[in-house]
């Protein structure tokens, strides 16, 4: 059996609150073969009577031995996400397989110096965060911009870490678009992501960035459409949808 098809036991090592309702789970999965930033896993839960449910979650941190991180946004009436975002605690066991998805990936060590543009909607920031974090370890990191669309300031994931990295001399550029409520003093009124939000010197079409777009289907359709409209070649745009 090939590695991606193999189910491994994963023990919950740590739980971190990202927002009032979303959480990051740190898992320890012995024998994990490693992964690239952008890939996802299948998580399998088994009830006492043997009933099982499987869902996909993006890895939000680069490979680090047996350690895996996923962030979960609970969806109303969901079967799995409210359990992962609410009930699970350190020491609990579930199963994991992967890594899955070899297209929506970025390897900062691949030697390509092109700028990288990451655009995430809501929980779609998870695989992009793995890319931001993977860049930190790279010898000559490519210029990277993360553009995150969230409803309100309290909906940002990884906020403290992103703000800290953005303040470093050669750190990533981190921009946030607020769709419903902006922080006090913000110049941009709340609203959906539009062309001016995407355009920033260094990551325009003429700068030939590699683009990664992740989020709900409508968000991915809208953003990838805008990128094509302003001249980014379609083969430079990779998308991932959580739907």
């Amino acid at each position: 059996m090939r590695a991606p098809a193999l189910w491994r036991v994963a023990v919950v090592a740590e739980v971190r609150q990202e927002t009032a309702d979303a959480r990051t789970l740190v898992l320890a999965a012995d024998g994990w073969p490693g992964h690239l930033a952008g890939q996802h896993v299948d998580l399998r839960l088994t009830a006492e009577d043997g009933y099982q449910a499987v869902r996909s979650y993006s890895l939000c941190a680069p490979a680090d031995g047996a350690r895996l991180e996923v962030s979960v946004q609970p969806v109303a009436d969901g079967e799995v996400s409210p359990y992962l975002a609410g009930e699970v605690r350190p020491g609990d066991e579930l199963e994991v397989r992967g890594p899955l998805g070899g297209w929506f990936v970025w390897d900062p060590a691949d030697g390509v110096p092109d700028p990288v543009l990451l655009v995430g909607g809501g929980s779609g920031v998870a695989p992009l965060m793995a890319m931001v974090r993977a860049r930190q370890g790279a010898p000559a990191p490519a210029p990277l911009r993360l553009l995150h669309s969230v409803r309100a300031p309290d909906q940002r994931w990884y906020a403290a870490e992103l703000d800290r990295l953005a303040a470093e001399p050669a750190g990533p550029v981190v921009d946030t678009v607020y769709t419903r409520r902006a922080p006090p003093g913000a110049v941009r009124p709340p609203g959906r992501l539009t062309l001016p939000d995407l355009e920033r010197p260094g990551w325009r079409a003429q700068d030939a960035p590699r683009c990664f777009v992740c989020g709900p289907t409508a968000f991915v359709e809208a953003v990838s459409g805008l990128l094509v409209e302003v001249g980014h070649p379609p083969d430079r745009i990779r998308t991932e949808r959580f739907g």
């Binding site: 098809a5 009830a47 359990y83 009930e87 609990d92 066991e93 579930l94 899955l100 991915v220 949808r241």
Partner: protein, 199 residues
């Protein structure tokens, strides 16, 4: 040796015999694709069949429209775990494109605008089991769902039903397509849960 996840009870849906293992039923029509949606006008669309010997036959949009169409209705199953019941399409059975063609080759590689490809056994796209469809639910197929025309192979996971189709090549050996090269299962039977290589 599945481990028990403490406190997980799950919610057994009314799946029944109609829902393949590990799937949930959705009323919407989610979208899965690897990049931006290509927009191909009808007057720039064409479909080319290439035989294993390298012979080519091409249909433009009018030629596609002049072929006798069928209205398949089917349940579809996406590897990302949604299934949708009773989807209604209009299109041309793949058999119609193969009429009079030397059936040399046991596999096909279906190709798309935008660079996507997927491989299937020839037997799975013939015998009235696959179509090139151009209408969904009584209206022209929208680009995000693969319009102007896509494959419909409802008995396999839906990534085998290539969107934005522009060609089909008969091959003597199985040549892995886009997702198949990235670790997805070569055949993709939802009833045997053939999601990734090794399943």
């Amino acid at each position: 040796m599945a481990v028990i996840s403490r406190g997980f009870h799950g919610r057994r849906g009314p799946g029944g015999d109609r829902l393949p293992p590990g799937q949930y039923v959705t009323e919407d029509f989610p979208v899965l694709s690897a990049g931006p949606t290509p927009h191909i006008p009808h007057d720039r669309w064409s479909f080319t069949l290439t035989t294993a010997a390298g012979e080519k036959r091409t249909w433009d949009w009018d030629a596609l429209m002049s072929l006798p169409s069928e209205t398949p209705q089917a349940d579809i199953h996406c590897v990302t775990r949604w299934s949708k019941y009773d989807t209604r399409w209009r299109g041309v059975p793949v058999d119609a494109f193969l009429e009079g063609v030397d059936p040399d080759g046991t596999y096909v590689l279906v190709t798309s605008y935008g660079g996507y490809s997927t491989d299937l056994p020839l037997a799975d796209v013939t015998g009235g089991r696959a179509w090139i469809v151009h209408e969904y639910d009584g209206a022209p197929l929208p680009p995000e769902h693969g319009g102007p025309a896509r494959m419909l192979v409802p008995h396999l996971y839906f990534w085998k039903s290539a969107k934005w189709v522009n060609g089909m090549r008969l091959t003597r050996t199985d040549e892995p397509g886009f997702w198949e090269q990235l670790g997805y299962h070569a055949y993709g039977d939802p009833w045997r849960e053939q999601r990734v290589q090794g399943d």
